[in-house]
């Protein structure tokens, strides 16, 4: 049986990837790390919310809720 869709795992993974990429670009001098994080960190909440909605829809279609 496939594991249920867990948005928080996806959010955590994507957030870590994004944080690492921004940090790396900041160290390379391509972006201002703090300015980029300041501008984009709420996107983690937006993405998480969207994924929760997707998960809810998927669960309804599968009849799990």
């Amino acid at each position: 049986m496939a594991r249920p869709f867990r948005p928080e795992v996806l959010v955590l993974g994507l957030s870590l990837i994004a944080l690492g990429v921004v940090w790396m670009l900041g160290n390379a001098g391509a972006v201002d790390t703090l300015a980029t994080l300041h501008a984009w960190w709420p996107m983690a909440l937006v993405v998480w919310g969207a994924l929760e909605l997707v998960a809810y829809a998927v669960d309804r279609r599968a009849g799990r809720s």
Partner: protein, 468 residues
Amino acid sequence: MKGAKIGLLLVILAFGSTVETAWRVRNRLGMGAWSWRMLGGRFYGPSFTFNEAQAETVTAETPVEIENGFGGVKVVQGGPGEVRIALRKVVCLPTEDKAREFAGRIQLQARREGGALRVGTNRAELERASGLAPDIGFDTHLDLVVPPGTPVKVSNAHGPVDVSDVARAEVSSSFDSVRVARVAGPVDIQARHGEVRATAIKGDLKLSDRHGDVTIEDVEGRSTVDMQHGEFVATRVGALTLQSAHGDVSAETVRGDLVVHAQHAQVRAAEVTGRATIETSFQGVRVEKVGGDASVHTEHGDISISDAGGAVDAQASFDDVTLARIAGPVTAAVSHGALRAQGLLKGARVTASGDDVVLDGFRGPVEVVAERASVRLVPAAPITDVVKVSATHGPIDLEVPAGSRFDLQARVDGGGEITADVPELSTTQTAAGRLAGKVGGGGSTVVLATSHGDVRLHGASAVAQKTP
């Protein structure tokens, strides 16, 4: 909601809060007097600049007095008969419209009082005005072009002051740098927190500064400097009197007397045509090429004096004294340190304790009192003057050049020996720990006495004639 979701939410919010906090304090963290602190206030945030200019017709040599609060003041020389004033207003407000409206209320003021042209702004009135937001920050930078031969007086609080090519200058500044250059007459600078630089001053210079480095160059008159917490550098100046604490001192090419009263300061002086009087503590003193007498005192520091044309008085503790090529008589006192001297032309009176005393290539009378120290004397010429050495817990070595004439009295106590390898010595009295005799038929008095040490005389065969 599952615990994992709650945990992740808290982590994201904590991360976001950290980023927001870091963003807000960015560029506003500074090192305060005691710890890190947040910088802020009315002079942070967006700022807008507005300019205003004005010209005033003046007669020759009309004094110009400038008063400013926040902002720089710059005075340069221009054409005759006119003072041109440029006011640059920097207003810290969120929008340009608001800043422009406020800048319109900042007025340049130039009025004549008591024969002088007084230049300033209406800052005081603005700050007192009712209804004015107290947290609006604004700088007023004044740039003046004055006629040749203008006496200038500047009073500023927060901003750099730069004055050049004027007849005389009087500057008072609190919290920024002061630069004064090419002044035909006297200069008076009263600074508190900022670097001060004065160059090419034809008159006398009076300067005080509490926190900041001070540099003076090419001052033809007398310089009187009182400063603390900063380094001092003087180059090509006239007579100089310096009061300093907590900062190193360097004076080079002083055409006159040099007087330095310093604390916790390393002092270096070179090429002083007059007398050099220097005292400091907890640091050393180095003096090179003094035309007159040199008096140098330090506690917990070393002394080095070379090429002095007059008498030398050196007093040090807990470190060494080194003297070279001294034309006048030497008086030296060192405790817990060594004395090494070379080329003393008119003798020395030395009191030392704790380390070796070496007089190499000396002439003239010598008197040495040493405790817990060895004494080694190497004359530059035959001994014909009085030599008296009293030591404890250390040997005495005296080299006797050929042609010396003196009466010898040597004494050792506490178990030492007296050895004399001097062919010209004729012994007149010997006893346990005692030796008396004449060298070269006798002449001046040489007394060598020590306890707990030997007395050794080395003859001409082993001594080469020395010249300083």
